[in-house]
Structure formats: C-alpha cells, structure tokens
C-alpha cells in the first residue's frame, strides 16, 4: 500500500548519524516518510530507535545528516506518544485535563482553551473510547486506558503525523490488539501518517506500510513486502525464528 503515494513526502531523512556527546549510535540512516504511510521502526534494544524519534521531534539534533520536512508540516503539528515517565504514575490529573493539554501547541499565546479546542479534546476522547473516563484520575486507570488517554492527547496535537514510542509496552495481547486497531483506524480514517517504535515484529508485518529496521551495522528501509523478502526481514519475521528480539 503506500507506494503509490510516495510522491508526497512528509519527512525525508538523509545520512543521519544519531547519538549523544560524541557517541554515535546510528549512522547512515536514510528513509522517507510518505503522507499517509504507517512506518514501524524496529530493531534491538539500544539500537537508537528512541533517539531517532527524539530527533524527528526536534528534541535533540542529529550529529550529522539532514531531515527535510514537508513545508506543510510545522513543528507543533506532530502528535507524540512518549514512553511513560515515572512522574506520571502518581500525578493527580483528570483524563480531560491531560487530553486537552494536547491542544496547547496550536494556540501559542492564549492562556486558556477555546471552545474549538475543548471540542477537539472531547472528539479525541470519543474516538479513543475514553470519553466516559473524562473526569477519572489518570493514575487510577489501567495501562491500556492510560495509553488511550495519551493517544487521545497526541491526536489533539496531530495534524498530519503521529509519532508513537512503544505504545504497547507492558500491555497484554488483547489490549495491545485493541490499541493497534485504534492506531490503524487513525491512520486510515483520519489520514494521519504514523511512525511507531516497536519490538513487535509480527504486528509490524501485519499493520505497517513501511518498515525501518535499525541494525548495528546495516539498516533496512522499504515496504513491508520488501522487508519480508529481504535477508534481514527473513531472519526476524520468520515465524520460527521470530520473537527473538
């Protein structure tokens, strides 16, 4: 799927080298993200997946190489679902407060939310099935519900692109599948491009339009069909040899 739309490139990364304080984790990374694409970023722990995400979000600068963004993709237009941080586990915040905070990027200088922003937040909660939890406390929700809330917040911020950092980590298979279904729906129906970091190669093969595999010495980037046919893909996606990450 995806290939017919590649003429509209949202992000183009060329020869990226990533890392921090002089330590290079990833080198020679090049890929394109097309409008409407669903890109899985897979690879071993420590291969630099999260670093790549942070670089795409301008949270850190690449050591070298270039990222060219489509003119229509401004910095605040990206919806981000970070890995959970420990502060959030006992943070007193209602679901509605959290989802609304996703709207902040759009209006930089107004101190309060507009009606339109509040409606957006309600719509996002509706879409992800957490509207009934709006007044609940975030820390009392289950792991899957918490991820949906954070996804709703990301949806409030996203105009064109959703960036998800291991959204299913720590969730059981049933809840994971539900979350994947939500994300796929956002990709198909809302036309959002998705970049997802994951360890879940079977899910990647099932849902992704493109796969970026970051390895220690070589990377793979291509459509899912190309990945399955590639040497690296054959090793990792093979049902017998799979799940070894």
């Amino acid at each position: 799927m995806g290939t017919e739309r590649t003429e509209n490139i949202l992000l183009r990364c060329q020869n990226l080298a990533l890392g921090y304080e002089g330590v290079r984790i990833v080198e020679n990374l090049s890929f394109d993200l097309a409008q409407g694409a669903y890109l899985f970023v897979v690879g071993e722990n420590g291969s630099g997946k999260s670093t790549l995400i942070k670089t795409l979000l301008h949270l850190r600068a690449p050591l070298s190489g270039t990222i060219t963004a489509d003119a229509g993709l401004r910095r605040g237009d990206v919806g981000y679902l970070p890995q959970q941080n420990p502060v959030q586990r006992d943070f007193p915040a209602s679901v509605r407060e959290i989802v609304r905070s996703g709207c902040l990027a759009r209006e930089k200088h107004r101190p309060f939310y507009s009606k339109e922003e509040k409606r957006r937040a309600e719509a996002a909660m509706e879409k992800l099935g957490v509207a009934a939890l709006a007044t609940h406390c975030y820390r009392e929700l289950s792991g899957g519900q918490q991820q949906r809330v954070l996804l709703a917040r990301a949806l409030c911020a996203a105009k064109k692109l959703l960036v998800l950092d291991e959204p299913v980590a720590g969730l059981d298979p049933v809840i994971s599948a539900e979350l994947y279904a939500c994300i796929e729906q956002l990709n198909r129906e809302n036309g959002l491009s998705v970049v997802m970091v994951s360890h879940d190669i079977p899910a990647a093969v099932r849902y992704a339009s493109h796969i970026l595999h970051i390895g220690h010495d070589q990377h793979f980037f291509g459509t899912t069909a190309e990945y399955l046919a590639s040497p690296i893909g054959r090793v990792f996606a093979d049902p017998e040899g799979g799940g070894q990450l």
Binding site: Y80, P82, V87, P92, E97, A105, F112, H136
Partner: protein
C-alpha cells in the same frame, strides 16, 4: 470565647498586625500554588535548598552592611534556582546531591560569615530570627507590605496566565517540548518564581521553614483530590487557612510566627491524610 474575640479585635486594631495578615495570606497563596508544581516535578527539596541559599545571601548582605538586602538576596537566589534546575536535568552531579551540597554550603558559610564579621550586639538573636522568622513579620513597614503585594500579584498573574502550560510541562516534559512549548523557558520561569516566593516567604516563616509552606498544602490536597485543578485550588485554600490560623494563634498565644504556621500546616496535612485514608476504603 468573647474575651478571645476582644483580644483579637484589640490586636487587629494595630496596623502591623493587619500588615502581617495581608502579607501572610499572599505569601501562603503564592507558595502553595508553586508547591504543587514543585512536589509533582520532584523538586520538593529544591525549595529547602534555595531557602538556605537565601539565608547565606542575607548573611553576606548583612556583613556588607547593604541598606537594601533584597538587592543581593533576590538575584543570588534566582541564580541558584536556575543552576539547580538545570543541573537536575543534566545529571552530572545528581539533582538531589547538588541541592544538598548548595543548601548545606550556604547555611554553613552564611553562619560562619555572620559570626566572624558581624558587628551586631545580638548575633544569635539575628540568626535565629532569619532562620525561624520569629518576629520580622510583625515589623513590616508599609513599603515592604506594598512590595510584597506587588510581587504576589506578579506571581499569581504568571501562574494564572501560564497555568495550562505549566501543567503540560509538569506532567510530560517530552510531550510539551515536542508540541512546541518552550520547556526550557518555562522551567526558567518556574525557577525564577520559586526564588521570588522564597525570598518573600523568608519574612513570614524564616528560611528554615519555607518548605512547609511549599509542600504541605500540595501534599495535603493530593490526599483528597485527583485532578490538577482541584489539587491546585484546594492547596491554595488550605495554605491560606493554615497561614491565618497560624498567625492568629501566634498573636493570641504569643508563640513564634513561623513555627506556628508550620505547625498549622502539619496539623492540616494530618487531618487530610486521615480523611483520605478513611474515604478511600
């Protein structure tokens, strides 16, 4: 009871008592609002460390015989707040170790400096009142009250205007930054405002007890409420009530102001914890 009321009315007729109440309420309000962010961002110790820095700066100002001590104390405290916030992020010297280091260093050097160079006839009295704020709240001049009112209004305005952004930055720094909120700028803002509040609060409770004003209201509110807004509002009310109770008790019973307010905060916190434990079951 009526005798108590009469006595209270008698004291309230004095302008300095009214000043103390106004300033006490404002400081308690500002401190509690910031305290919520401080506690949630795991910066509880920062308030403590900064108050010791303010004490050290005050000691230096006293040694140099500065006529307006705030001119030194405020910038030094602001600077330390910024340094501590950023070192906490970079993790080279771990945040809490850096705070402990700065805090105990400022306290020791401040006291040392004062005992070596001070010309005051009542040194230990001076130091005790800076540390525990024994009487300075009752000796405020009208100018100081206005200064305090001005600063408090500034702090409140900042808090209201940036409330949602502070929430976002506190709850999830990475997300906030990714959506284009200038996290470093707001962290800086938090640091500056904390320093402001601490310098103000030194007058009220003394530098050793400032943390009580910062953390108890937030912690108490978090026992009972589950949304950020409810916690913030509850902390503010809690703090003001405790400050007023503490001030009135200290005036009526002749106890030192700072510790009495802190005691009121502790009592309030215990009551809230109890209610929280009972309602959760």
């Amino acid at each position: 009871m009526s005798m108590l009321m009469e006595k209270l009315a008698y004291y309230l007729a004095f302008p300095f008592v009214r000043y103390a109440l106004i300033v006490g309420i404002l400081i308690a309000l500002c401190a509690s609002l910031l305290g919520v962010t401080l506690v949630l961002k795991r910066f509880s110790f920062m308030g403590d460390g900064l108050s010791h820095v303010a004490f050290g700066a005050l000691a230096i100002a006293a040694i140099c015989n500065l006529s307006n001590q705030m001119l030194l104390v405020l910038p030094v405290t602001v600077l330390c707040a910024i340094v501590l916030l950023y070192t906490g992020q970079k993790q080279r010297i771990h945040g809490d170790a850096a705070i402990a280091m700065v805090s105990v260093g400022a306290l020791a050097l401040g006291y040392l400096g004062m005992s070596v160079f001070s010309t005051s006839p009542n040194l230990s009295g001076d130091i005790c009142s800076t540390l525990f704020g024994s009487a300075s709240i009752l000796t405020l001049s009208a100018t100081e009250v206005w200064l305090c009112v001005g600063m408090s209004v500034l702090v409140l305005a900042i808090f209201v205007l940036f409330y949602h952004k502070l929430f976002s930055v506190t709850f999830d720094e990475d997300f906030a930054q990714a959506s284009g909120i200038r996290v470093r700028l707001y962290t800086l803002l938090i640091a500056v405002v904390i320093a402001l509040v601490i310098v103000l609060a030194m007058k009220l409770v003394g530098s050793l007890l400032i943390s009580a004003l910062l953390i108890f209201p937030a912690l108490a509110a978090m026992r009972l409420f589950k949304s950020f807004r409810a916690v913030t509002v509850c902390a503010a009310i809690f703090s003001v009530v405790c400050a007023v109770v503490g001030l009135l008790v200290s005036i009526l019973a002749g106890t030192p102001v700072g510790p009495t307010i802190a005691a009121a905060d502790i009592a309030g916190f215990l009551i809230f914890s109890l209610i929280g434990a009972l309602t959760r079951r």
